[in-house]
């Protein structure tokens, strides 16, 4: 498939996933912030924004958080921005995207909020955002041919999911105490599954193991890494002539998997914040490697390339 289209597919996957994950993260923390006393609000908000690599607001309030992560079209990590960017990419890849999927993305874009909202409106909006992502995932799973376009979209989605789960996990280490884990698990929709798996035991160890390493849970970091590697391998198989292009990204993914799989859980917990930032770094590296191998832009036009010398 066209490199340019592959890149668009990759980013559609990323942005739709990012919108959903941001909504989940925001919902989790809204609840924590509101449950806690007002004195902590600024700290909690600052931590949350720091997690999302936002550092341009001093003494952020809940309103700032909702604006920056929620409805402000000019903030590059807001849910609004993610859906708008997903739609823009979908428009560029319009001829390879099934009609139903395009209408899903386009309708989402049309329904984006045009006015600011407070915490009450936020819940309606965040639920809506999660539903739209779920609808996108369902339609794409249900009708898309599993060609390279699908693989690049899955790859983008998986990388984004691993990256965002690592941020969600790191958010616990910023605020102390295991009391946060239930909220984080609920944010991932994995609360009940966790309780069933570990028979109701809340310990940092088990929760971290579940969210980081349990590949059976589709929002765990490990699941994202494996899924991204699978997609890359499929692309390599489909294009035997360029199979080697997948190697740098596969190598990074494999090294990270080994690092997490064979990590000592206590060490991992002690350095949770650092380990999670390693996950984010590797996800960024993989995205760059994929981009270099598959989406590389044309060389700038030069008069000397044409001819028969």
């Amino acid at each position: 498939m066209l490199s340019r289209i592959a890149e668009s597919m990759f980013w559609i996957g990323r942005y739709v996933e990012r919108a959903e994950d941001t909504a989940r993260l925001l919902q989790t923390h809204l609840r924590l912030i509101i449950e806690e006393t007002a004195a902590h609000e600024v700290d909690a908000c600052r931590n949350l924004l720091a997690l999302m690599s936002v550092d341009h607001v001093e003494d952020p309030t809940l309103t700032d958080v909702l604006r920056i992560l929620g409805y402000d079209p000019s903030e590059p990590i807001s849910i609004y921005f993610s859906y708008a960017a997903a739609r823009d990419n979908a428009r560029r890849a319009r001829e390879v995207i099934p009609l139903d999927l395009w209408e899903c993305v386009n309708t989402t874009w049309h329904q984006l909020p045009t006015t600011p909202f407070g915490p009450t409106g936020a819940h309606v909006f965040l639920n809506w955002a999660r539903e739209r992502s779920a609808m996108f995932a369902g339609i794409s799973r249900g009708i898309m041919v599993r060609d390279d376009g699908w693989q690049f979209m899955s790859m983008g989605r998986s990388l984004e999911q691993a990256d965002m789960t690592s941020r969600l996990v790191a958010s616990v280490s910023l605020t102390h105490g295991s009391s946060q884990w239930p909220a984080v698990l609920r944010g991932c929709g994995g609360h009940d599954a966790f309780l069933r798996t570990y028979r109701g035991l809340y310990t940092d160890r088990e929760v971290a193991e579940f969210l980081v390493m349990d590949a059976r849970f589709p929002r765990s970091i490990m699941h994202g890494l494996i899924a991204a590697a699978d997609s890359l391998q499929r692309v390599a198989q489909n294009n035997p002539l360029t199979a080697r292009h997948a190697e740098p990204a596969l190598r990074s993914l494999g090294q990270l998997r080994a690092r997490l799989e064979y990590a000592d859980l206590d060490d991992l917990l002690a350095n949770l914040n650092h380990e999670m930032s390693v996950v984010q770094d590797v996800c960024a590296q993989v995205a760059i490697a994929v981009s270099m191998s598959y989406f590389a832009a044309e060389e700038p036009p030069a008069w000397t390339t044409e001819g028969t010398r």
């Binding site: 066209l2 319009r94 001829e95 049309h110 489909n238 360029t242 598959y294 036009p301 008069w303």
Partner: protein, 541 residues
Amino acid sequence: MADVLSNYRVGDAFDEMIDAEGSVRPSYKAVYSALSSSTSDDLRMIAESLANNYTQAGVTFDVGGVERPFPLDLVPRVIASPEWEIIEAGVAQRVRALEAFLSDIYFDARVIADGVMPSQLLTSSTHFHRAVWGIQPSNGVRIHVAGIDLIRNPDGDVRVLEDNVRVPSGVSYVMTNRNAMLTAMPEAFANQRIRPVTGYPTRLLTALRKAAPSGVEEPTVVVLTPGVYNSAYFEHTLLARTMGVELVEGRDLECRRGKVFMRTTAGLQRVDVIYRRVDDEFLDPVHFRGDSMLGVPGLVNAVRTRGVTLANSIGNGVADDKLIYTYVPDLIKYYLREEPILPNVDTWRLEDDQAREEVLDRLEELVIKPVDGSGGKGIVIGPRATKAELDGLRRRVSEDPRGWIAQPVVQLSTVPTLIEDCLQPRHVDLRPFAVNNGEDVWVLPGGLTRVALPEGELVVNSSQGGGSKDTWVLSPPPHRSSSNHRVPTEHHDDADEQPKTRTAVPLTVAPIPAAVMPKMAETQRQQQDQQQQAKPRSWRC
């Protein structure tokens, strides 16, 4: 008369629905009865549903970079079968003549030698490109797609307003308009057979494949778009999607040694036929505008060495130059030895001193058009222009008489159109689309009917805020072959136009499985039931 039509007053123009005596034309009987049994609320609901449908599906036309839903009016334009046959033959004839003209002038220009057309007319056309002189396309086709703009004057005659043989746009809206109408007012389709428009992408793809460079067995066809900010981007995606081919931008392509390749995730892949929707001037910075970001360096060389086929060909613009348009009836006689089926609109050639004098005297009652314009740009309608505009125009025409033509103001025919709450006559034109595959010229039944929404407005172009209508070509009545009607047998070559009747085949099917629920013994059920009732009681303690 019914509610929504009570204020329908036909003006001086020919009305497609109501004749001069005030009775409904036969072709509009079904539409009329559907309309007259509707209230304005019904119509408003249909109009809203049409607009929502387009917004959701992203059927848009960009004006100045802003996406707008393409306006579709709910009253269709209906063309009776005998009339369509004339239009169809006339459009195909014109395309054949223009095709012959192009292959002549880019080779030995007999038309000049034989004195049909002055040579400076040709060489002074801005779209005559010497870069492609002498190139013979592999199957001889230069006009793979044509859009011929037709109008109907107050006498009821159909005339050709202009030819578009460069990159005519609008065909995607023909297809989406039909889909939207079928969803929004299915009952209006019920009582008549309307010829389908779905065959277009297949026809186009076939024509493009046949145009591939010789020796290519399985040609790779792509659509070349200027990009997402182009006003017709929606159309480009729809055509690529419905033909199942890649939609590429200039930066996706690369020329190497006279061949064209696209950059894919599997490396470079050869491209054989490019249905390009980029203007000539932007196609190749080596030959045309050096600052073009949309083109591919080396593309013209690839065309010259027959490494790739462009559709439509470079240099076609000379055939839809509006001054050359005035010679098309002569070209039809000269090349085809036929009489023109569809006449032109009367046109003054301003290089002729006498004609120019007459036109400059009557400027305020004529329409003046630039010869190389499209999309309604630069047109001045005399009766609507201010004095300053007319003075400026008079000066420009005197300085560059080759650049302009003049035509009388033609009152285009009208069709009922929903304006706020009631139906009003609005002026329309018609752009049928023709596809030339090298063996025959196929005309899509119907075409794009564009409608000017402001009252009395005569410029219908989408880029000037015009709307559109679904165009219904009625199928000939089925009993016609047995009766002695004057209609000749129509070529029903489309498989999808033939009514299909299938006899029911007895099917052997397996039963649909369902989960087996364990049969409960009555005592078990009672026990479960008691347990449920017990719970609240125990809480209360």
